[in-house]
């Protein structure tokens, strides 16, 4: 199963629920790949934030936190940074990959210790 953590965050926010609660009951043993990506923020009909899963920006801090939480529980998993439009320069994209790698490495060290 593929777990898109940015999508979980966006959907939870838009529906007024908690992403962490959703993830805590997720069957991580079935997950073989993780997707991360950036989202845009607009406002809905009552002026509340409405997140759009655009893949046009860096991964949000809150999504990195969720990712670290998932990796700590599930162990290291293949991870893809989705950035489909307004593709940035290489250093920016690489920085995203390095952040993901750091979190994966931390999880590997923790499980080896």
């Amino acid at each position: 199963m593929l777990l898109d953590i940015n999508n979980v965050f966006v959907s939870a926010k838009n529906h007024g629920t908690q992403a962490l609660t959703y993830l805590d009951s997720f069957p991580f043993d079935q997950v073989k790949e993780i997707h991360l990506g950036g989202h845009d923020e607009e406002v809905d009909d009552v002026g509340a934030p409405l997140l759009i899963d655009t893949h046009t920006s860096p991964v949000a801090e809150a999504v990195w936190t969720l990712y670290a939480h998932v990796i700590a529980r599930a162990g290291a998993l293949p991870t893809l940074i989705e950035w489909d439009n307004d593709v940035p320069d290489w250093p920016t994209l690489r920085a995203e990959a390095v952040t993901a790698q750091d979190i994966l490495s931390d999880a590997s060290c923790a499980s080896a210790a």
């Binding site: 529906h15 406002v43 809905d44 009909d45 409405l50 759009i52 439009n85």
Partner: protein, 168 residues
């Protein structure tokens, strides 16, 4: 046969002037107009991208901006009838009467290829350098066509495209 709800939902998806279908609500709004607009945008932009991947040469010829505007009109007038988007738009480009009224661009009808035309091909073989330059030489009307045929609509279309790009 689709139930009334499905029919009104499908209709509202492709027509921004239709109200949000009865029964669609959000946790914080009884009539979530802006949220439904995101959904609408996903559908239309996604279909436009499918069209773009099917007709890359047409896009090169008319340009990205015009193609996007044309696709926006087309997908609303002739939404896909099969779940296989690879089969979408057999009669694209510009085969529908409404589109033809809007954009009289006979070269595209010639290139459509799926149905033989009674008239002779407008294009005739000429050496490269580029497809666009070649066309300008062989079809004088094309060099001025973007100014004479498409204005003023493309600018308003372009604004619409830009403002509706965000969602997916």
């Amino acid at each position: 046969m689709l139930a009334p709800f499905e029919t009104s939902f499908a209709d509202a998806l492709l027509n921004a002037d239709r109200p949000v279908p009865y029964g669609i609500t959000a946790h914080n709004a009884a009539v979530p107009t802006r949220r439904f607009a995101v959904y609408r945008n996903n559908v239309v932009v996604g279909l436009g991208k499918a069209l773009k991947s099917r007709f890359p040469v047409v896009e090169k010829i008319v340009g990205e901006e015009f193609f996007a505007a044309m696709a926006l009109v087309f997908v609303k007038e002739q939404p896909p009838r099969s779940p296989q988007l690879a089969l979408m738009a057999t009669y694209f480009p510009l085969s529908s009467p409404r589109s033809n009224r809007r954009v009289n661009y006979p070269i595209l009808q010639t290139w459509r290829g799926s149905r033989p035309r009674a008239h002779a091909p407008i294009m005739r073989p000429t050496p490269r350098p580029s497809a666009r330059a070649t066309l300008r030489r062989s079809i004088p009307m094309l060099s001025g066509v973007s100014a004479s045929v498409f204005t003023p609509r493309p600018k308003s279309f372009a604004r619409h495209i830009r403002s509706s790009r965000s969602g997916r």
